[in-house]
């Protein structure tokens, strides 16, 4: 048999204070999709950065076509045929599809001028070769959907004659339809003999598209399996090092008096007359497509964009929520959707992030009690088992799941009565996810009212006592736990006419 396209042997990488990779090996053959699996912080990102030349390994070998290779820069890797498509797409929104594909290596006419005709025909040939017929070479990238932009990235990689394509969570931001089309493209690339390294948290996807899988845990190699010979239970166990009995540890707790009663909230343009009630001890799931107005509703409740009309009652008392400060003082906490931008001050330490929403309680006459602040952060790190070398570490250097625990923890320090969670487990690995779900159960048992926005239907169905469905800025359906099936909720999200009535 031929040498594998890419063969990684005993890779080692150490950052100051952290062993990011120890003895990691895996290989990719032509025409194979090899998945990398592991919790956040397991070392997947470091591994692909080493393979794509961003980091230099401290030990071990990388073999391309059986020959040892050393990449000192991403350009080196590109020349060797390794291309990487990151989660954040690196395209120029003002340029066309063809310009983006050939940026930096456009075909030349005489005197160094760019041969625009060749750029266009080559781009069209690339599009045709992957049978992409709904994308034109002349379209401006800024006007394209995420799925389309990702295709442009793939084409750019192919224009470099990439033979090894690394895809980092390519489906994280895609709709169902885009995922299906991405898989079509991946299969076509396989057919051409391209080797693909595929990273995803979604196990069901891996069973659909991958041939083999390698699992990492805490920077170390755990094992490789053929997808045909394994199952999700085994993979999850390999990933977290223990069995996770129940993905959604829903505990039924007695439900008390209403905490939040909102009447006819309006905030232009995405909140168009929303009424809802959340009771003490209750977890209400808020389902809906991206753009249906769920996060906007949460931000109305939290005072970021105060309601223009309507009434909010908290524990029976009419209140005005016209700023986040007002919301916090009334006992409302909001864990936002985008933790990098809205949730964390990434350059600040874990310590200072933990205390940020509770500074008032930690200070006297405006002076921060720094000993109390440290005690609070250390208790938080322990309670939420945040993996960090110390509370003085910059929060931005932690893995996604650990960052999310800090955002959650900083709000729980205020002992809120109403907790609004916006995608609480997005981009979080299986282990941290289960911990966050267990925590939600504990909070509900303590009488906290929880409103949870989630795009992951199993999570909504698994965790909620009641499910509300939002579409185009309005609540269009409500289901109690017994009636909330994925068909019913999914149908209401999409706007199937039959689901307009309230099922509860």
């Amino acid at each position: 048999m031929n040498a594998p396209l890419l063969d990684v042997r005993n890779l080692e990488k150490t950052f100051p204070g952290v062993r990011a990779l120890t003895g990691v090996s895996f290989d990719v053959r032509a025409g194979e999709v090899h998945a990398l699996l592991g919790e956040n912080g397991a070392g997947k990102s470091t591994l692909i950065k080493v393979v794509s030349g961003v980091y230099q390994p401290d030990g071990g070998e990388i073999l391309i076509d059986g020959r040892a290779s050393r990449f000192t820069s991403p350009e080196d890797a590109k020349r060797a045929g390794v291309a990487t498509i990151y989660q954040e797409l690196l395209l120029f929104p003002e340029l066309t599809v063809a310009e983006n594909i050939f940026l930096g290596h456009a075909p030349r006419a005489g005197f160094g001028r760019i041969d625009w005709r060749a750029v266009r025909t080559k781009a069209e040939a690339l599009l045709a070769s992957l049978e992409i017929d709904d994308l034109a070479a002349g379209q401006i990238v800024g006007s394209l959907s995420v799925g389309h932009r990702q295709r442009v990235e793939i084409l750019r990689a192919l224009s470099h004659d990439a033979r090894i394509l690394i895809m980092d969570e390519p489906t994280a931001a895609l709709t169902e339809a885009d995922v299906t089309r991405l898989f079509g493209i991946v299969r076509r690339l396989k057919g051409r003999g391209v080797g693909i390294v595929y990273i995803s948290h979604r196990l069901d996807e891996l069973f659909e598209i991958a041939d083999r899988v390698t699992v990492l845990r805490d920077g170390a190699y755990v094992g490789s399996r053929r997808m045909a010979d394994t199952n999700s239970a085994e993979l999850v166990q390999m990933m977290v090092g223990r069995r996770i009995e129940n993905l959604f540890p829903k505990t039924l707790v007695p439900i008390g008096a209403p905490v939040l009663e909102a009447q006819n909230l309006v905030c232009h343009p995405m909140t168009r007359g929303v009424s809802l009630t959340v009771r003490s001890g209750e977890i209400v799931g808020l389902a809906g497509l991206v753009g249906s107005g769920r996060s906007e509703l949460a931000q109305v409740l939290f005072g970021i964009t105060p309601a223009e009309r309507g009434e909010i009652r908290l524990q029976g008392e009419a209140v005005r929520i016209d700023s986040p400060e007002a919301a916090r003082s009334r006992g409302i906490a909001y864990v936002p959707e985008d933790r990098a931008v809205q949730g964390l001050v990434r350059p600040m330490s874990v310590l200072n992030n933990f205390s940020l929403a509770a500074l008032g309680a930690l200070s006297r006459f405006g002076f921060i009690d720094r000993a109390a602040e440290r005690r609070m952060a250390e208790a938080g790190v322990k309670r939420f088992s945040v993996k960090t070398s110390s509370v003085d570490e910059a929060a931005g250097r932690l893995s996604g799941g650990n960052q999310q625990k800090i955002v959650l923890g900083k709000w729980l320090a205020n002992s809120p009565k109403l907790l609004v969670l916006d995608e609480p487990t997005r981009g979080v690995d299986v282990g941290a996810k289960a911990e966050i779900h267990r925590l939600m159960g504990d909070l509900a048992a303590d009488g906290v009212a929880i409103l949870m926005i989630s795009s992951e239907l199993p999570e909504v169905l698994g965790m909620s006592d009641r499910v509300l469905v939002m579409r185009e800025g309005r609540l269009v359906a409500e289901f109690d736990r017994a009636h909330a099936t994925s068909e019913a909720v999914g149908g209401a999200m999409m706007g199937g006419g039959a689901n307009r009535e309230r099922a509860a």
Binding site: P16, F302, I304, S323, P324, E325, A327, R328, Y334, P336, V341, Q342, G343, L344, V345, R346, P347, M348, N352, L356, A357, L359, G360, S363, G366, F367, I368, R370, K410
Partner: protein
Amino acid sequence: MSAAAETALLRAPWWLKRHETLLAIILAVALVGLGAFNDRFLTLDNLLNQGRLMTEIGLIALPMTFVIITGGIDLSVGAIVGLSAVMLGYAWKTFAFPLPLAIVFALFVGGLAGFVNGFVITRVKVPPLIMTIATLALYRGLAEGVSQAHSVRGYPEAFYVLGQGDVLGAPTQLLILIVLIVVAGVALDRTTFGRALYAIGSNETAARFSALAVDRAKLVVYTLSGLASGLAAVVLVSRVTTTRMDMGMGYELDVIAAVVLGGTSIFGGAGTIWGTVIGLVMIQLLKNGLALTGVKGDATIVVIGAALIVSVLIASSLQRRRE
């Protein structure tokens, strides 16, 4: 840098790697060097006199540190100094206010000018750079209009204690500056207000989502900036015994240079009062030391520019190493 030096640097204790410490070391070396060239430089008299001369810039540099930590900038401070100085003279001479009331009026005008900056920046969301460029012109224009290019002189002798006199053997205004340095340093390092400034400068959205009073904090720092400029104007008038409408011209650059040289990130989120103080002292003593050594004015500016660039290079290379 050689590999050995690099490891040595990595192993050095944290306080040695701080920008402020490095700057203090450079300052000490420069002091000794300049002192060796000139025996008038390292005398108590000369140093105290330099303290007197740097006070106006220093007073404004304290709130400017706050402003820059929030990721903002205030270019109108020099113009506010001019406006407040003119208002002091106008209130005393034309309105015939008693001098203490005229001083309060000048401080009020400075604070109000800063408040207007902050109000428009937070409410109308005009970028601070644009807003304060606009008010730089506006306030200077007001100063010219009110003063009609007339200068005011002949203040009572007692007023000059502030700008020319000594208390406890040190220049009066220097003592005021030292007290305010301590107040500003403690406020930035120990209070919720200071913490909010760092959070705003690092990630304003997250600060807002953490229920920090972002707009109020910004309004306060721009108002303080105006107030400090007003105070600097009063000290300056007392020191030079005259009110002129072009007072404070170009101060904004000296102030920003001291703050940035002191290690405050122009992108916001990082910086200390102690750094600003070292930056301030460094610029003043370099100017003075070079002048005493016989270096011409133009060359002094070149040296200060070079010092700024070197310090920023050191800071950014340290930053990279830490990451």
